[in-house]
Amino acid sequence: MTDTQKPVKDMTTDYDIFDPEFVKNPYPGYSEIRESQCPIAHTDRHKGSWLPTRYDDVVAIAQEYETFTSRQILVMPPAEGRVEGPYAAVGAPPITSDPPDHHWHRRLILPVFAPQAVAKYETSTRNLCNALIDEFIDKGTADAAADYAQHIPVRVIATMLGVPLEMEPEFTDWVRGVLENMTDDEWRMRSFRSIVEFFLGQVEDRKKNPRENDLITDLMNAEVEGKKVPIEYVLGVCQLMLVAGIDTTWSAIGSCMWHMAQHPEHRKQLRENPDLWPTAIEELLRVYAPVTMARIVDHDIEFQGCPMKAGDRVLMAFPAANRDPRQFENPDEVILDRENNRHVAFGSGIHRCAGSNLARLELRVALQTWLARIPEFELVDPSSVTWAGGQVHGPRKCMVKF
């Protein structure tokens, strides 16, 4: 029997992040743990992990990077046997880096994601959203996840990297292999190899045929203290761009589409008061934060009464933190003009999402473009919506009619 086939007896000692009901709707489970005597749960399933659910605990763990390291950041350990071959050690810097290297690993990519740098993608993202809507607007029905959300971040990221847009299906497949099918070691390993081999090919090609103005070229030319950065760094950042830049934002867009399909009053509010958009985006990010990141405990420590051992995995459930009533009033309610919203959808501390400005832009443009052209729509059948969960939470099939 696999870990996910045994019924969960007690959420605080036996939770299962891949349980189908939990994947679909993790919030009641998070709440049960958060309000129990044991708000940091533990499970032996899926090679074991801790699950803090209160805002303050999640933030403290994110801030304490020396105790809670980024040696591994996925909610499941890497596939067995993965550490083979010349580029097996390629990580996903800076997300998988610890200080001191973390500093330059992050510093080099930050300019690419500064607000003024991502603003230049607004028009192309809007054009892309419009082109996607053109495909289905006359049909009166569409899959808001698979026909719309899924196509947006992957094309934006491919454009930034300077890789062929036609490879979108492969990129999507590889990313899902890494993030959505963690219990399938073989698929994970194959996806990881495909990503590294693909980018290695892109690097080789640029050596023979130099290019300008794409991120891969910029990374290849980047220098730190007078020396070119190692190839492993270039490949690692490329891998991060795909793995962290696609599934995450597409999940957030999808969840927001699912929400808007069921809340005509929020569509109306945004239509009548466009000034709400900035706070509305933050509120939607709070409620539908897609990402959970893991940390590896550096040394034995008692954290909030929990005996954590060196090497233990801790899951920073940002979606759980974002619905902690100790931090947010009426946490399960979407309040588009919420006053106080210190949400951690993008994490906290030194590993705070480097691409948050791009993600915000994509989410806002995707919602605005849809709502402008399809102001009224609803779910075809709420029970037919399917979800991914674990590392990244969001809808994968979400049929709407209009």
Partner: protein
């Protein structure tokens, strides 16, 4: 986040780190916006001195 809440007061440098665009006291007309920036900063990096 602060640059969204109070763009007259907060901006970002070339690597996207937040920076303060004005010097001295915050004009009264911007107090509400700056309070919002403070109460929405996920890193608790803003302190208002009165």
């Amino acid at each position: 986040m602060c640059a969204i809440a109070a763009p007259e007061v907060f901006g970002s440098d070339e690597i996207g780190n937040a920076k303060i665009l004005i010097s001295g006291d915050v004009p009264e007309a911007l107090h509400a916006k700056v309070r919002r920036a403070e109460s929405n900063c996920p890193e608790r990096a803003i302190t208002i001195t009165e």
